[in-house]
Amino acid sequence: MTRYIVQRLLALLPVVLVVSIVIFSITYLTPGDPARNILGPDASQAQVDALRDSLGLNAPLVTQYFSWLGGVLTGDLGESFFMRKPVLTAIADNFLPTLQLATIAIAVALGVAIPFGTLAARYRGSGLDQTVTVATLLSMAVPSFVLGLLLMVVFAVNLRWFPVAGYVNPFTDFGAGIKTLILPGVALGTIVAALITRTTRAAVLDVLNSGYIDAARSRGVSNLRLLFAHTLKNAGLPVLTNVGLVVGSLVTGAAVTETIFNIPGLGSLLVQAITRRDYTIIQGVVLAITLCYLLVNLIIDLLYGLVDPRVRLGRKSGE
């Protein structure tokens, strides 16, 4: 198992290296002088030069990269020019709402996807199956920010069941907090639910066709037990992998959904930074979210190895 973990971590190194180079170069893609871009056309040349110095823009590119990377490794992501505070603090301040939103979304998604995916596979070809298939197809065509706006029109503007926008921390006021997070959570969870439903359905179908299910059935195991104890347990592994893969779209979706509902999360921070061309914040947020994504997938990979001995012993690492 240790060998497996080490293998997985080593495989991650080149990926992280490329990610860091891409994120570092974001500042330098900008046409013109980054310092000039930050200060705007009205700033004097002396101000621009001073900022160039403090940002370290006069050093060779490679030196700049390594000093930036060194900073990242020691937890120093630089300082936001506009917010006058360290990027890491800004990210920490905005992390909780995004995490809460993502948690609600994944709860909604799993709550819908697992039962419906399983039943659609069990009663394959039935009306239920067809409804589920059409529903997933439709949900996948609706981007979360569009669904968010539509939900807002129906449930906040017309029915007035939920507030139009805003955020209350559920840890300080649970009822009001949940109320502000339900609409964005559903908006975000729906597309994830569609993706997971499809995987669940395919995985369950796969298991239902296998010999040991026939064997269990011939021994007289009840239908319900067969479906949920025998089948779902074995179909769980591919579903788990898929959950890891959708975490990426979940987090970015959260970023966009937040701006619709004015939730002060990482997404709102990013959008503010984009309009202000606050590069250190953009780099920091993209890095933070990407690392979260890689970490979640690493954990799921390791869980996979823990649950299924075939993965640990086999050659799954070569894919």
């Binding site: 080149p14 539509l150 619709i260």
Partner: protein
């Protein structure tokens, strides 16, 4: 020479699955492909012709007619500047379809080149695929947003950003197909005949990746339309006064209490177009997939799993795969 001429032409074998007439017949039989393509054509043609015919101007501002509801004069009402929403929807359609189409073409070309090259040189493979892994590790919209924000919000920069985001995924798919085709008998035969690697790459491997590229590119088209809308919504994409579904949604959001129809109509167009592109992709996949030719029990059709092996591999399977 006479020895070589008796070897069956590898060219014919390579193109075996691509019988044109049956492609078209199968394409027309696929309901999702026809429905999807029709909607895209309908939207594209209306966006090109209707503004001329109905004298619609997406830019003409009328401060006295702000936020009006749908009427005969303004089919989808007006926005907060008094501009005709229907005219802007059509203009936005043109923006979305153009961005999507260019991104999917650029991605298809770049992805094919990278994928096929990677399949042929192991050193290049390591370098290119590590870069692809790194780019794919950054969630798509996030990468696109930061690239577009850094490059500056113009349509061409938007296209560059989206192409960078979607090329790695396509390159991986093309690479795995190219690797599979490379070990097939007809490529082996061509090599034995003394064909140079470049010839094998261009004449044998590349044509066999076309079908999978076409399917993937259609899905990338759909993705680009969504991502373009998201970017424009966030202010990192198409800028006002140019119309895009994304920036229309952003504007509509600000007046959602007074004029929710702007958000509703724009969403409807966006969702239907994405749905149509997804249907087109699904239909295309079924058409390219040679399983569609074989008679199949009706029941299994709607819920069949992905075929275990690809069309090309199967088409040349029958004799002597083991060399």
């Amino acid at each position: 020479m006479s020895e070589i001429s008796r070897v069956p032409s590898t060219q014919t074998l390579a193109l075996l699955p691509a019988r044109d007439s049956s492609y078209w017949r199968r394409a027309l039989r696929s309901r999702s492909l026809v429905v999807g393509a029709s909607w895209i054509l309908l939207v594209g043609l209306s966006a090109l012709t209707l503004p001329l015919v109905l004298q619609l101007d997406p830019y003409s501002v009328a401060p006295t007619q702000r936020l009006q509801g749908p009427s005969l004069e303004h089919l989808a009402g007006t926005d907060s500047y008094g501009r005709d929403v229907f005219a802007r929807l059509l203009s936005g359609a043109l923006t979305s379809l153009r961005v999507g189409l260019i991104v999917c073409l650029v991605t298809a070309v770049a992805g094919s080149i990278i994928g096929v090259l990677a399949a042929f040189n192991s050193v290049l493979d390591q370098i290119l695929m590590r870069i692809c892994d790194g780019l794919m590790a950054i969630p798509g919209i996030l990468l696109a947003v930061s690239l577009a924000a850094a490059l500056g919000p113009t349509i061409s920069n938007l296209i560059i950003a989206l192409a960078i985001v979607y090329t790695p995924g396509l390159a991986r798919v093309v690479r795995s197909r190219a690797l599979a085709v490379r070990s097939d008998t007809f490529v082996e035969a061509s090599r034995v005949q003394g064909a140079r690697p470049v010839h094998i790459m261009v004449r044998h491997i590349l044509p066999n990746t076309f079908s999978i590229t076409a399917v993937q590119a259609t899905f990338i088209f759909a993705e680009s339309v969504i991502t373009e809308a998201a970017l424009s919504f966030l202010g990192a994409g198409v800028q006002q006064p140019l119309a895009s579904w994304g920036n229309m949604l952003n504007q509509g959001k600000d007046v959602i209490m007074q004029a929710p129809q702007i958000v509703v109509f724009t969403s409807l167009f966006l969702v239907l177009t994405v749905l149509a592109l997804n249907l087109l992709g699904d239909g295309l996949r079924d058409t390219v997939d040679s399983r569609g030719v074989r008679p199949q029990p009706r029941r299994a059709r709607s819920s069949r799993k992905r075929p275990p092996r690809d069309a090309t591999a199967r088409a040349i399977e029958p004799e002597g795969t083991q060399l």
